[in-house]
């Protein structure tokens, strides 16, 4: 089971500012283990989706070039306090996780 994600969502005017932290090793598959010299298998988030009140706002494809324990920030216009935000990811091994929060 993946570790919990963290989210912060705040609104200024009618724009929601949403920040998410995800726990993930983000292995590119190109890195060698320092001890064994073997390639470490690729293991990275390759899809991220976000919705506000159930409506999709962001759909992303990622490669292994995103840093370990990824950070994502985005902004959504037409938002207000109390809106429900959900962000989810899937990785190349089929694992997934999601977090939801309320715009404050």
């Amino acid at each position: 089971m993946a570790e919990p994600m963290k989210m912060r969502a705040s609104v200024s005017g009618d724009v929601a500012d949403i920040k998410v932290l995800m726990n993930h090793p983000m292995e590119t598959g190109l890195r060698k283990d320092a001890k064994t010299g073997q390639l470490i298998p690729a293991h990275f988030i390759n899809e991220v989706h976000a919705t506000v009140n159930g409506k999709p706002v962001l759909d992303a494809q990622w490669g292994g070039g995103v840093s370990k324990n990824p950070y994502l920030g985005f902004k959504v216009k037409g938002a207000k306090a109390g809106d429900k935000v959900e962000v989810s990811w899937k990785d190349n091994k089929g694992e997934s996780n999601k977090v939801d929060g309320v715009v404050a």
Binding site: A50, K75, K77
Partner: protein, 135 residues
């Protein structure tokens, strides 16, 4: 019920673009993403450190003030595979993405923005150094 289900599942999702993420150069990756050759734009700003504190974690923030921005792709030009992320934005999502990327060496960080079926680009250099000195 079918309509609601469709709405909930969001945009029609393309399969993960393995060829674009495996491309060795930015132009190849842009082509593999199905995008046209982008024009330079001053309406895109890239905020990234002049010198990376840690090549493994380089904060990058892309802001596009081009009306109708629906896509932001981010590249590190000298990475073995330059394409890092490809974002599609909809339903009020602004032309703004903040993330953190890996960079193997000093290079341009490039953003390619899609708006109204056209593509635009801007880049900023980030220096990756071995460090160690001191005043």
């Amino acid at each position: 019920a079918a309509a609601a289900g469709l709405l909930k599942s969001g945009n029609v999702l393309a399969a993960w673009n393995s060829s674009a993420f495996a491309a060795k150069t930015v132009p190849e990756a842009i082509k593999d993403l199905g995008l046209s050759t982008p024009a330079d734009s001053k309406a895109i700003s890239i905020k990234a450190p002049d010198i990376a504190e840690n090549g493994a974690v380089v904060p990058v923030e892309v802001t596009s003030s081009i009306a109708g921005t629906t896509g932001i792709a981010i590249f590190a030009e000298k990475n073995a595979t330059p394409l890092i992320t490809d974002f599609k934005l909809s339903n009020g999502a602004e032309g703004f993405i903040s993330t953190r990327i890996k960079m193997g060496q000093t290079a341009m960080v490039r953003a390619v923005v899609t708006a109204g079926g056209k593509t635009y680009t801007a880049a900023k250099e980030v220096k990756v150094t071995i460090g160690g000195c001191g005043g």
